[in-house]
């Protein structure tokens, strides 16, 4: 069965650069979530989208923005990268009426040097 796809899987950036992470949800899933997991930390919710509209907002820095497109894929844009942004970024998708069951992607590991 198709799973959540994230790209790239690994990314290395310099401080103050920008990065764009992509997420392709499971087909027919209408809700996408983004999480950040720092080294040795628990995943922290960043932001979610339902039907291309922002649904909920968590601890997403102002330097980050995200959107969901007409094909339901989502992109997380990160600007003015800081060393502390180094983390594993997960995307998850679900059906709105079954949002308790989120399917996670493999994550993008971002390293900021």
């Amino acid at each position: 069965a198709a799973g959540v796809i994230q790209s790239p899987r690994h990314l290395i950036k310099e401080k103050r650069e920008t990065a764009t992470l992509k997420c392709y949800p499971i087909p027919r899933h209408d809700t996408v979530y983004w999480y950040q997991q720092g080294p040795g930390q628990d995943p922290q919710f960043l932001i979610s989208f339902y039907e291309k509209m922002q649904s909920d907002k968590g601890s997403i820095p102002d330097r980050f923005s995200a959107q969901q497109f007409s094909d339901y894929h989502s992109e997380l844009n990160m600007s003015s990268l800081e060393l502390g942004d180094s983390a594993l970024y997960f995307c998850a998708s679900s059906l709105r009426d079954k949002e308790e069951t989120q399917y996670f992607g493999p994550g993008t590991r971002l390293l900021v040097l």
């Binding site: 628990d42 995943p43 919710f45 649904s55 997960f90 998850a92 996670f104």
Partner: protein, 113 residues
């Protein structure tokens, strides 16, 4: 915050033994979920238990929920080396609202062959 807190933080056992991990949370919840994460990989949903349930089974997994103590436990019976992973509990942040799981810090389980 309704953050779940797992204990122990780390658990090391021999193959065939049972592993018990605990999770405590702070406020009322609709449900609690357990996830597994292999090192640097995505989160895999294991089991969901609702606030009106006390126990749930799935294969070698047994989850209990005590809402009076605001705690849950995950028992893995007859553990295998392949069970080596980090295990997180997650609670929903706003009962009645969108489902945004709040993760605890996780228990790192090592099963020695």
């Amino acid at each position: 915050s309704q953050q779940g807190e797992e204990d122990p933080q780390a658990l090391s056992i021999q193959e065939g033994e049972n592993a018990t991990m605990n999770c405590s949370y702070k406020t009322s919840i609709n449900n609690l979920q357990w996830y597994r994460q292999n090192s640097g990989r995505g989160l895999v949903h294991l089991i969901l238990i609702r606030s009106n349930e006390r126990e749930k089974h799935s294969g070698r997994l047994r989850v209990t929920l005590d809402t009076s103590k605001k705690s849950s436990s995950l028992l893995i019976t007859a553990s295998r080396a392949a069970d080596t992973a980090s295990y997180f509990c997650a609670t929903d942040a706003e009962p009645g609202g969108s489902y945004i799981p709040t993760f605890g810090r996780g228990t790192s389980l090592i099963v020695h062959p």
